[in-house]
Amino acid sequence: MTQPASPARPVTEKSPPADGDKSPWRSLAARADVRTLSLLGVLAALVVIGGVTEPDAFLDTDNLQLILTQASVIGVVTVGMTFVIISGGIDLSVGAIVALASVWATTVATQDYGFAGILFTAVVVGLGCGLVNGLLIAYGGMVPFIATLAMLASGRGLALEITDGKTQMVTVDGVLKLGERDSYILGIPPLVMVFAAVTVVGWLLLNRTTFGRRSVAVGGNAEAARLAGIDVRRQRLYLYLLSGLCCGIAAFLLIILSGSGQNTNGNLYELDAIAAAIIGGTLLSGGRGTITGSVLGVLIFTTITNIFALNNLETAVQQIAKGAIIVAAVLVQRRTATT
């Protein structure tokens, strides 16, 4: 486990140095780049493995579209999760929120309102859950782990209550069409476009706005952030709202992708999103992390899964290899980042 960040611990490449010393700050910036480069290296290695083992199936545009599409849903969730972890929190409820939003948005009553109804409901349910999380944590004084664990339980329960365990088929053509080949623009699936847009907005928000700097500051040292005049509680509320919003968007993408809503949706997303963020170099104790790293983490995971499936590996072998690759990726990254 990583140790909790000490106040002296440098936060991100974008945060102002606390002691005004220029030289460690510069080497830090270089280190962050090395970290991203090492992730790209891991991804490149995976592409080579995929290309060598399954040259026909792996190296074609269809497969690139497939990998990016499969990465979209969990990718959007991970962007929100990255913000929460950077601020020193955790959101265990993302999978449950995706499930709840996707079933609420696909009830017969919602589908009566068509495309807009489904999109609106998914986003509002996501925001609503995020709001509850945020209020409990920021103003109710609950530990994020517990508050979001409670949301996980009740969110899944409510999703089951709504569906009664049944699979809700989407009948709105406009929604279904978005997941099909006809609606690709210049070969890019709409889902991937949304993923890209969320990534860019997330990157800008983290690196180019006071909101981003505040998030990092709260995660680095909440007390120092409070003394510096940041409304820590409001900031935390916003962060869980942001995570909820990402879950709502992800739920809409999942509805498009699977053409249905099911209470089992988003199974173990919390672990996938946290793992992708950690692999991407986000510190679990907060104060440091990048959107680029997290997105690369998601792409690494999705590519691994894809290569395994194309090579027709057994489930047991897949799971063992996946664990080994996660450890290897983190070790490689550590080594390159510290030397």
């Binding site: 049944k166 997941g179 053409g259 489930t315």
Partner: protein, 347 residues
């Protein structure tokens, strides 16, 4: 018995025997039911109200379509009988919670228990406890570790499901040289998935022209079905048939097939969801058949429990008691017989 049979008697006897043979041959199973019950003068359970029976029903949480259908089937069947009172617990996937629920039912002194355990092995002890308390247990589908823990087991046939899917595909691809088959399995850490795959492989051994080229496991969810199927389609650009273990994940698989724009193979499903039946009936896509894992077994379990409670056998069988074990047949439903099964399809 007379020592010599007269010629007339012989003739008459022969005529009677052959007439009897013809009769039974013609009427087949319809008349058998009536005969056996009359012959044995055995009390068999029928629709007529009999002794009042309270049946305790404990099942897992209905978090997917098939389990939901199990609950519905049990409740509706119980409602059909005026002499049956059903005490159904709130379903739970938590072993400890389910044990508690069964113990409550034992304390309430229900006449018969129907238990679909969240985990068969883990609930064996409480099954034993009920049996020792004199409450006969009908064990539904997921089997207890000890035969002493139940009076009667009724459940589906996972191996048979694979077998029948394999034979159906085998017959359809008969004569096609170098035919390729792909399998989309269910949750791989469940034993039932292994059994289904074993049955499928065993059936395919009868057809040397067929080769299984790929197998990937999804997780019984729409999402995992879509994800795994889209990758299988990417890996296998050319194959003739697909067997998907579960119609729930099949919704996702069909979505992936549509998204990839593929229609060059036939697909067989599993379990018997309503959406699959409708797709088969419309006959527009790749889904041509599905192999049943019938949720109606819950209704039959109620029938068995009622017969147990009333101390009766079941009609159509010669025995005075209900059987100790009933493995249900995994019928293949295709366009020819789908109408017959439509009402049993679950959502």
């Amino acid at each position: 018995m007379p020592e010599f049979t007269s010629r007339r008697g012989l003739l008459f006897g022969a005529a009677a025997v052959s007439a009897g043979a013809v009769l039974t041959g013609c009427t087949s199973n319809e008349s058998k039911d009536d005969n056996s019950s009359e012959d044995n003068k055995q009390a068999v359970a029928d629709d007529k109200p009999g002794k009042e029976v309270t049946i305790g029903f404990a099942g897992p949480q209905a978090d997917h379509g098939w389990l939901n259908a199990i609950n519905d089937n049990a409740k509706e069947r119980a409602k059909k009988y005026k002499d049956v009172t059903l005490e159904a617990t709130e379903g739970s996937n938590d072993t400890a919670a389910q044990i508690g629920q069964v113990e409550t039912l034992i304390n309430k002194k229900v006449d018969v228990l129907v238990i679909l355990p969240a985990d068969g092995k883990a609930l064996t002890q409480v099954g034993l406890k009920a049996m020792k308390a004199g409450i006969p247990v009908v064990n539904l589908d997921r089997i207890f570790a000890s035969a002493q823990a139940y009076r009667c087991w009724i459940g589906g046939d996972n191996y048979g499901m694979g077998l029948n899917a394999g034979h159906y595909i085998g017959e359809k691809l008969k004569g096609k040289k170098g035919a390729k088959v792909v399998e989309l399995a269910g949750l791989d850490n469940l034993e039932l998935t292994k059994q289904r795959t074993k049955g499928f492989d065993d059936a395919l051994k009868n057809y040397p022209n067929i080769e299984k080229v790929a197998r990937q496991a999804a997780e019984f969810t729409v999402e995992s079905g879509q994800s795994k199927m889209s990758q299988l389609l990417q890996a296998q650009k050319n194959f003739d048939a697909l067997w998907n273990h579960d119609d729930d994940q099949g919704v996702g698989a069909l979505r992936a097939i549509k998204q990839a724009g593929r229609d060059d193979f036939m697909m067989v499903g599993g379990a018997g969801a309503l959406s699959a039946f409708q797709e088969i009936k419309q006959d527009r896509g790749v889904l041509k058949a599905t192999v049943l894992y019938p949720p109606t077994m819950a209704a039959s379990a109620i029938d068995l429990a009622r017969a147990l409670g009333q101390g009766k056998g079941i009609s159509g069988m010669a025995e005075f008691e209900i059987p100790a074990s009933l493995t249900l047949y995994s019928a293949v439903v295709d366009k020819e017989n789908v109408d017959q099964y439509m009402s049993t399809g679950f959502k």
